[in-house]
Subunit: 197 residues, 2 copies
């Protein structure tokens, strides 16, 4: 419907996370009815974001400045580095407002099945940052999956000789979560991680 | 996160139908990780669709040709015009595959509450098309809402002096439902079950 340009636009929109063919059609139609107000601004925003945003050479965060606005912020605690799998995890931690140190995005997890080896991840630069001497603690905030745990073990081993403190984010019952809907692994982790009330 | 370009992009994506702040962040991040493969193609598709797509001067459909590919198709039944509220309804009927006539998009419904009068809708051109003499039947496929029914009554009154047969889709359209969210089978049943207005 609407010619090849519209079909192509719908197929690209449908590939976005959270969109499907139906919502892509609705989005395309809504934009086609107001091309000046809705379509061209989005096209321009995509083009300028693609041009401006680059990975930070220090931490791997995506930002329009390099070093990124987090690495460049003197008010943040530069003795603390939180290691995350991806930029989405970094964004989630930033939204929580609970962390004021720096980050290091390693870009995935080690995986024997998918053939991801240490040299495929952004790990060497983490050791370089630690070697510079300012860092006192590395917080491993990797996913609570088998691969995430493997990666955390590997990193902890690599970091041990540097003498830096290495910690791992706590696992347990999510805030607002009911116990009877949680899986056994989470409940076991919550029991292991119990603290004095 | 990621600078002003990313914040702006996320705010525009979040305004698309079916998207919210969370899915907009995920979509932006996915695209930022592959700007060449995902971001710039979407920007180009938006720009070219905005430039190519215009309303059809005959029926009001949005298409990259004018008259639109439906009006220009000699294999379609040019004695039959289906009147719809919007282009989304036209797309839905086309997907059902149950209709092979022409369309007329009036662009909404009459509404006393919202102050939509006959002259605000694309109605005069429908009467002109009937006056040209080729049309034998007008199918009113308006939403089964109060305003949709009011508009159908009004159009049936306007069309009566021309002597053209006026029918209304009936069976299958749920009360309070909009056409563009219906399944194809229901739309096909609604077309088969049309009655004299």
């Amino acid at each position: 419907m609407g010619g090849p340009e519209v079909d192509h636009l719908i197929s690209l929109l449908a590939r976005l996370p959270g969109m499907g063919p139906r919502s892509a059609r609705r989005a395309a139609l809504r934009m086609l009815q107001q091309p000046e107000q809705r379509m061209l601004p989005l096209a321009r925003a995509l083009t300028s974001a693609a041009a401006a945003v680059k990975p930070c050479a220090d931490c791997g965060n995506l930002d329009s400045q390099d070093p990124c606005s987090i690495c460049a912020d003197p008010r943040r605690d530069h003795t603390l580095i939180c290691v995350v799998e991806g930029v989405g995890d970094l964004w989630a931690l930033e939204r929580s407002g609970a962390y004021h140190g720096l980050y290091h995005v390693i870009g995935g997890t080690l995986s024997a099945l998918s053939g991801v080896r240490p040299e495929d991840l952004n790990m060497a630069s983490l050791l370089s940052r630690v070697d510079e001497g300012e860092v006192k603690e590395i917080i491993l905030a990797l996913g609570a999956t088998v691969d995430g745990a493997t990666t955390a073990h590997f990193l902890a081993d690599q970091l041990r000789p540097t003498g830096v403190t290495v910690t791992r984010v706590g696992q347990g019952v999510p805030i607002g979560g009911a116990l009877d809907v949680l899986d056994d692994g989470t409940l076991a982790a919550a029991l292991r991680g119990r603290r004095s009330a």
